[in-house]
Amino acid sequence: MIGFRIDRRSGTAVYAQLVQQVRQAVRTGRLVPGDRLPTAREVAERNGINPNTVLRAYRDLEVAGLVEPRQGSGTFVSQVLPRPQLDVTALRRELADWVDRAHAAGLDQTDIDALVADVSADRKDSHAHQ
């Protein structure tokens, strides 16, 4: 079973760390379809984190089609990570243009990372409120 490691100094939200670690374990084959994730209680107790944070991470993984809850027996890995359907080449080219413009405007790498994270979070919020 996957054991989560929470890095308190990473600056990444605990919720996001849980999601990332499951995704990575599935991507690398450490978790395969049918594997059970630890319960929210187990993760909360071992790491000293709020169980609702764990449930929220599992719910997001469920919406992404990565895991499925089974009544009374836990949360299970349901499939290998779905590949992006879209050809990413076009997205990548647009992003490269954008990064060039950001550099030209004087933003450094940290500014760019912060801006991307901020806009992503904003978009997510506005989708959630629709």
Binding site: E45, I49, P51, D111, D118
Partner: protein, 296 residues
Amino acid sequence: MHTSDAPPVAVAAEGVSHRYGATTALRECSFSVPAGAVVALLGRNGAGKSTLMRAIVGLLRPESGRVDVFGQPISAEVLPRVGYVAQQAPLYPMLTVAQTLRLGARLNPRWDDAYARRLVDAGALRPTAKVGSLAVGQRARLALAMALGKRPDLLVLDEPLASLDPVARTELLGALMAAVAERGTTVLISTHVVADVQDVCDHVVVLGDGRVRLTAAVEPALAEHRIAVGATSDLGALDGLEVVERRRDGREFTALVRTAAPGPDGVSWHRPTLEELLLGYLRAETPQPTREVSAA
């Protein structure tokens, strides 16, 4: 009025004020805590955290205002549902661990002995060890076992993590969060160290100078604030905005602003981390003394 949609309220404080002699400890404190929440009560030393907690658990009758717990004033009827651990986890040093647990069983009608023992065993506490001989982390664990053994619906913990090493801190929070996962226990935990509680709390109450400066659910509070960083010459960009706190560092300023969207250009805006948000409210300037105070 209680509607079926609204989550039940575990703690409701309304205009709570209290003085010790000439010193005002609490000023018109109002906030409410939904059942099942894990609430961090934050404030600097002397901000009034302990006084507020004592008022919630019925150990102190505030001069004015009221506190309801599960919809009623604290009384013999609600008290069995409330667990409280005071600062420094007072226990009887001459009792053994086993004797302490027996005392818990005798004093509490809802005592769950198997559960309390399990908590103590998980902390590798010897039943025959004298409480006075326990390490700080072990004492804290025993105090928590005593409070959780009551099977409380509301657990009030005054600075339970102070003086614990990082391993003991994670273990204690782990035991606490397991109780939250199993039983939906409402937890109110006070501290002046933001990092200690940022991974467990879903609600925050910030006290400063006896006043409630912020009471909020964590996620919406983060979404409704931004940190602005810029050159002091651009401070005008903050005009007309609700600035919670502002600091200058040479030619740069950093400000916590209450806004759901980034403000004007010329200044860089980012979402606060929980630590940035809470530190901003903790550092926010105390209001100017009023005439009433200077006359006294």
